[in-house]
């Protein structure tokens, strides 16, 4: 089981500079737990109070996970996951 995860610039300090890493899991929650084992600190940048951070976007095969189950979104071998911080702000 291998799932490719695209890592944004700002989180590459946790992946030794790698733009993409592989992990596995049956759900997004499982994948994040798996990634955390190999890249300690990463989970905290994605999660807050047990849910995805408001200003972090995660996509599975181009679908925003918020529309397909959030942390419970199912994953299977070969899926492509992208993590992108929101581009947002306010005056």
């Amino acid at each position: 089981m291998a799932i490719e995860v695209r890592i944004p610039t700002i989180l590459r300090t946790y992946t030794g500079g790698e733009k993409a890493v592989t992990g596995d899991g049956d759900t997004l929650a499982g994948l994040i737990e798996n990634l955390e084992a190999a890249h300690p600190g990463l989970a905290d940048r994605l999660l807050e109070n047990g849910d995805l951070r408001r200003f972090v976007n995660v996509y599975i095969n181009d679908e925003d996970v918020r529309f397909i189950g959030g942390l419970e979104a199912p994953l299977s071998d070969g899926d492509q996951v992208v993590v992108l911080p929101a581009v947002a702000g306010g005056s």
């Binding site: 610039t9 929101a86 947002a88 702000g89």
Partner: protein, 157 residues
């Protein structure tokens, strides 16, 4: 220092004026590692708000995938402040997540939708620290392949 072509600068200002009183937002992409903004992408402010902006999440992914395909990166990330100065707010600083980008702020508080003075300022925002930088406006956008920037230019303050 941010070096940007006049046409790109003017297009960002025009976008900000057009969307006033809501905040306008977008990026200028450029070849990876070049630090040269070349391709303007106006984004929809999904928040549709005079005090907040956010790229729509689906459009954000499409934008990044397009940049990856073209070996580009976001050289400039811009947005407007419509009632306050062109300086990053606490929210802007907290959410800034592209340490390599020039964060451009445009203030339309004086000009609104019409002619009139516009503040156009640029910052680096890294780990919560804001550093303002000079903006150099050049008449023609520099070519990425020719790092020798001899084009005539005027500074813009």
């Amino acid at each position: 220092m941010l070096t940007i072509g006049r046409a790109l600068r003017d297009a960002i200002v025009a976008h900000a004026k057009r969307d006033h009183p809501d905040e306008a937002c977008g990026i200028v992409a450029g070849p990876e590692g070049s630090d040269l903004p070349t391709r303007l992408v106006e984004m929809v402010n999904a928040a549709g708000s005079p005090t907040f902006y956010e790229f729509d999440s689906t459009e954000l992914l499409a934008l990044y995938k397009q940049m990856w395909d073209r070996d580009e990166e976001p050289v400039v990330i811009y947005h407007s402040h419509t009632a306050t100065e062109a300086y990053p707010s606490r929210t802007d600083i907290g959410l800034a997540s592209e340490p390599g980008a020039h964060y451009v702020l445009v203030s339309t508080r004086e000009c609104g939708n019409s002619e009139g003075p516009v503040d156009f300022r640029s910052y680096r925002i890294v780990d919560g620290v804001v550093t303002e930088e000079e903006v150099r406006v050049v008449e023609s956008a520099p070519e990425p392949a020719t790092p020798d920037l001899t084009a005539p230019h005027r500074s813009n303050h």
